[in-house]
Amino acid sequence: MNNPSNALPEPALDSQVIAPAAMAATRPLYWSVRRELWENRSIYIAPLAVAAVILFGFLISIIHPSAKTRAAWLDPAKQWPAINMPYDIAAFLILLTAFIVGIFYCLDALHGDRRDRSILFWKSLPVSDLTTVLSKAGIPLAVLPLVAFAIIVATQVIMLLLSTVILPGKGVGAATLWAQLPLFRMSLALLYALAVMALWHAPIYGWMLLVSGWPRRATFLWAVLPPFAIGVIEKVAFNTTHFGNLMKYRLIGWFTQAFALWAKGNAPMDPLAPLTPGKFLSTPGLWIGLAVAAIFLAAAVRLRRYRGPI
């Protein structure tokens, strides 16, 4: 309105460019990530719901333990696995939930706003396609792992507090309990596992995001059927399963690369002991996967530019 449009075009332009430049990079990304959380509340509601179910089940299991469980609690040889197992199961179930939420989130991420035409509104704002795709990739790669971490730790703390109140009545003392459950070190190991999984699964999420920006409908089928078809064709044509093995390795291979398999011990063990970050970081599969993820995301950005409402 009050721009000195004709008098001094050059300096006016410069000052306008510099001021937004500082905010250009991070602010739109921050708000775009928040927008994703507004739209997809399942990102935290689903793991919270699973945590609630776990806590309910756990409460019942310690109030009314089976005879076998009760015996294990009091047997020094079986005490450590018996006390630790519910905590591991809780962590596993919440991680699994976060993974599934991440997959379904990605399959809709670049599709939902084309379906409801709101892509026209988002594209009318000064937010680049790169920022949009990065904000959506940031959900499974950073936000969901952090949400899962917070919910798992909170769940385990509540489990420990419930046990501290209830188990002494069943013959397991609070001191024994706390000695068996080094929650802080468990949390560090968990954080490591979450980072490992996010990096390892990055190409899976990248593929899902790319596919979500592509077809007009049935993103799930487009994402799943081509790899499945490749596997079947390979099996029929060559009677080999290299592609299937590759997929399996991508899904669960992180575990053998990032953790040393330890003997089933009965003694309390340091949760940080089996971590092998050096081995993980020197696995070619990690870096190849990240490169593939980068290619998928770059393709998703490019595709997004051509996309409008469907």
């Binding site: 309105m1 708000w31 709101s118 509104f121 594209k123 009318s124 000064p126 409008g308």
Partner: protein, 291 residues
Amino acid sequence: MSVIDARALRKAFGVTIALDGVDLRVEEGRILGLIGPNGAGKTTALNAILGLTPYQGELKVLGRDPWTERDQLMRDVSFIADVAVLPRWLRVSQALDYVAGVHPRFDRAKAEGFIAKTTIRRASKVGELSKGMVAQLNLALVMAVDAKLLVLDEPTLGLDILYRKQFYDSLLNDYFDRSRTIVVTTHQVEEVQHVLTDLMFINRGRIVLNCSMEEFESRYVEVTVHPEQAPAARALKPLHERQIFGRSTLLFDRGDRQQLAGFGEVRTPSIADVFVAVMGDQAGETQGAVR
């Protein structure tokens, strides 16, 4: 520098040609109405201007290439598509937060002020608002952006007449000034006639008419004649003739007003009448083309 400068703009979807060599120049401070039948290429032209679709030919909007610099361009360009593009899950307060977060030229207080004049509650989701309220919300967001170019694609589609009138009134009273430029497409031609400064008819990807409203008013003349005078009037080669209550209304391009005054009362026709006259015989052929 023109706000929009297009030369030989072309865009084809398969065998369908949506834009067939469009030359277009829009200067600062104009309100251009882009009028055409369905499938004429209006939305394609707007999409090219907004960087939503690739094209052939030369196009500069505020000196930028919209296709490669859309995010930069959108700091200075605002856009309202037809009413249904705000996502249903978005809350009014979230819409304000988000636009304030990403848009360096968004004046949040101004937007809140516009919303305060309506019955929209800030905690409501877009899905809970009526169509008219969604349009008001979108307009409030857009009017609070200090943009140089505002593009409106059927902004009042599906709204009742009160909202439609209010929409253009707010736009003119609270938003438009001589440093801004507006491009609007609409089928409700009669409602924008008094708003526009420039007019462009587009059909089958080509510009059929391009003139300022002053030029339009001096160029087109309409006169209603008695049946016995009709043959004499027809001899002056009207662009179009239509029958109302047994009397003929003839529309002339560059007609001599004094000569025509002899037949009856001379008027400036509405855009809609000229549109029908210019497009009427071609309109049927554009059915099925890409919009």
